[in-house]
Subunit: 432 residues, 2 copies
């Protein structure tokens, strides 16, 4: 074993960073044995140095992150600050000064991964980011490496623990969205401002990263269709149950049937209870991967939290350190297919639509005609009189597979019908 240690700079010492620092200390011997050289925490950059950091020696703490990454003797920079700036500048500066980077920064990778990869490549450094998607679940490495000899056609997963916790509560307790969100907040599963989670921004960033890796092309956050889950109601869950389904917020990355393009999207969807993703409970994450030769694979585990995320960071740290001792680098960006990302209108899937309609003869025929005119084939219809004397009924239509644009056109036309009082909900049906 080499006796001279590899030096690690840690940017950020919050929930994840402090856990990384702790494990680097408590498991130093194991890490050294697995890497083939000791690793040493050489500096920790934080915003508020007065905040207590369990176990990190005071002399390692600095507020000058830029100076730390420029030191020149740093082997690996671990970036767990999050956000776009200053993270991006710090990472590119690290590459310029001869360090490799391990990052957990999904937002930055989804928005500007290509820039980071290019900088890593230019300076002959590694960029690893297992922790950016689905916490501790090994996913980036299996996709980049284990499945490197296969053709991935679909990646579909639950990649946000907060929203899965909320939807699971709604499903099991019959609670409404607000009530379930309150419980998630009280238990620490949701942040004070839950927008990034419940509106699907977090999941969309992960979808961009997964789609890019899976299809060997560039997919940016802006390419991902995004719909949050704040409008999912207890009534939707009741409808889902009637279909033998539950509702999950899914990130779905697909290769088009003709292979010439890809799509990436995040939205709530009904999935059959028999699908492995349906039984993913609480704040757990799981990602389903369909590959040509491998078939259907699933990866399951805790998608967030200090320790799980630190596990992913440290796995990358070991890999990057090994590469360094080998004077080699791991896989870089693989975007050679240059497949375009198609808009949501071209996605083909099934739909579950609940309509409030006038309770009189001929309405079903009118509605069915509108679907037919837009080329959307109906699988089943369920009609229910409301029996509250207001002359309204509800009509639940489940379609066969159709392009999203055709469905949108259908709904627009339905809204114009006098007999359609309102479109109560539209939900995609996946996983069949």
């Amino acid at each position: 074993m080499r006796s001279r240690p590899l030096k690690v700079a840690l940017l950020g010492c919050g929930v994840v960073g402090s856990e990384v620092a702790r494990i680097m200390t408590t498991h130093a011997d194991d890490l050294a044995a697995r890497i083939g050289a000791p690793v040493e925490l050489a500096g920790v950059a934080v915003r508020r140095p007065d905040k207590v950091r369990g176990g990190v020696p005071a002399e390692l703490i600095t507020t000058d992150a830029t100076a730390l990454v420029k030191r020149g003797d740093i082997d690996v920079v671990v970036e767990v600050i999050g956000g776009i700036e200053p993270a991006r500048s710090l990472i590119t500066t690290a590459f310029e000064h001869g360090a490799s980077v391990v990052s957990a920064n999904k937002a930055l990778l989804a928005q500007d991964g290509a820039t980071l990869y290019a900088a890593a490549d230019q300076h002959g450094q590694d960029l690893y980011y297992e922790a950016a998607v689905a916490g501790a679940i090994p996913l980036i490495r299996p996709l980049r490496e284990s499945l490197a000899g296969d053709k991935i056609n679909r990646v579909m997963g639950i990649v946000n623990g907060t929203t899965n916790f909320i939807l699971d509560k709604m499903d099991t307790s019959g609670a409404g969205y607000s009530e379930a969100l309150d419980e998630a907040t009280a238990l620490g599963y949701a942040e004070a401002d839950p927008t990034a989670d419940v509106e699907g921004f977090d999941a969309a960033a992960k979808a961009a990263i997964l789609a890019g890796i899976a299809f060997h092309t560039r997919v940016r956050l802006d390419d991902v269709y995004r719909e949050g889950m704040t409008e999912v109601t207890a009534a939707d869950f009741a409808s889902a149950k009637q279909m033998g389904c539950t509702i999950k917020l899914l990130a779905i990355c697909e290769r088009a049937a003709d292979g010439g393009s890809v799509t990436a999207r995040v939205h709530p969807a009904m999935i059959p209870l028999s699908h492995p993703l349906a039984s993913v409970r609480e704040a757990y994450n799981a990602v389903f991967v369909e590959a040509e030769a491998a078939g259907r694979l699933m990866f399951y585990g805790p998608g967030a939290g200090g320790s799980p995320t630190a596990s992913a960071v440290l796995g990358d740290l070991v890999a990057v350190c090994r590469n360094r001792l080998n004077e080699a680098t791991g896989p870089g960006e693989s975007a050679y297919t240059r497949l375009p990302v198609s808009p949501m209108g071209e996605v083909v899937t099934r739909y579950h639509i609940s309509l409030d309609v006038a309770d009189k003869p001929g309405v079903l025929a009118q509605v069915a005609t509108v679907f037919a005119e837009h080329g959307v084939s109906i699988d089943t219809v369920r009609q229910q009189g409301r029996q509250d004397g207001d002359g309204e009924a509800s009509l639940v239509v489940v379609t066969h597979r159709a392009p999203d644009a055709a469905l949108s056109g259908t709904v627009e036309a339905l809204r114009k019908l006098d007999t359609v009082r309102g479109v109560a909900s539209i939900m995609r049906v996946e996983g069949e």
Copy 2:
């Protein structure tokens, strides 16, 4: 991209080998782009050259595997022959002649992995074997690399598709073992001689490999406790259902509570229906990993078959080729902990025991006394008169956690009681 191709020698061209050859041809451009250089099939060694091999040019086929691996211009040898010899000699010869090796050979790795690793290390070559455990499911790489910064405490999985298919049939249809085996054979899930699967030899080899990697120590096939599933009955499934469980053949690798030793075992066990492994159906495989920081992870997918296994082989091939272009090698053997493997008697788990007893007062007290004398604490007892007039009843005892040796002692003593007519079944209870 480098224009000079990397040369691959394929040893074996059966179900897996022919699929590897096919994908190397049909996906040559993708593989080249991902590796950074073309890969070329330079030779295919088979036993019976007259057998038709779809798509493999006749001039590549040879019966002289030794000459092929000795050619000197081979970059990577892909070994999909299986068995101990000639596979072992061919692999070590390949290393001696400057080739790296990708193998799917679980038996050889479980029996003599250390020899192979040493030979690879001596000659500066790679040894990769993702396909040896659980087919296409990325498992070796996640354990060796993704979790390299974590401490794995437990690996528990369904790693044999044939037996899972049989047990699933027994569970869902109420069929007996023989009937379910016949169906598995008819559908091609079981071989004409199913011994290696149903007696747990195949799973035991995989347990040895997984335990060694997970705990960074050497575990050989002989170290693995093994019990097949041929004695599981429809009555066992009925008992399991009463407990809210099902029965799976599990491979379980554990670190002892004190951290000073490990165990590895394969046997049928009851697991709660709420455990993710309980819902693994048909011939699918799934492996649960518990790590200190990462928490509970699960990896799921097809555990066998030509295409899935080929996917794993090709993923390794891409990695080994990339390493070669980098003039580096991937992770080698990691056995630095040198943890001893404890015998089965030291394994601590729960038990479900069905006894046929005399249907008269005082029997339960006698039985309970025997458990207490051996330090095995009883969780629940269920007593049922058989009402067939023969004066027998059955007694179902579920214990708290106890060492396997204590349970064995208890059962031995129970057999000596006059009032105990027989021990109908003993099954471990896992996953709680």
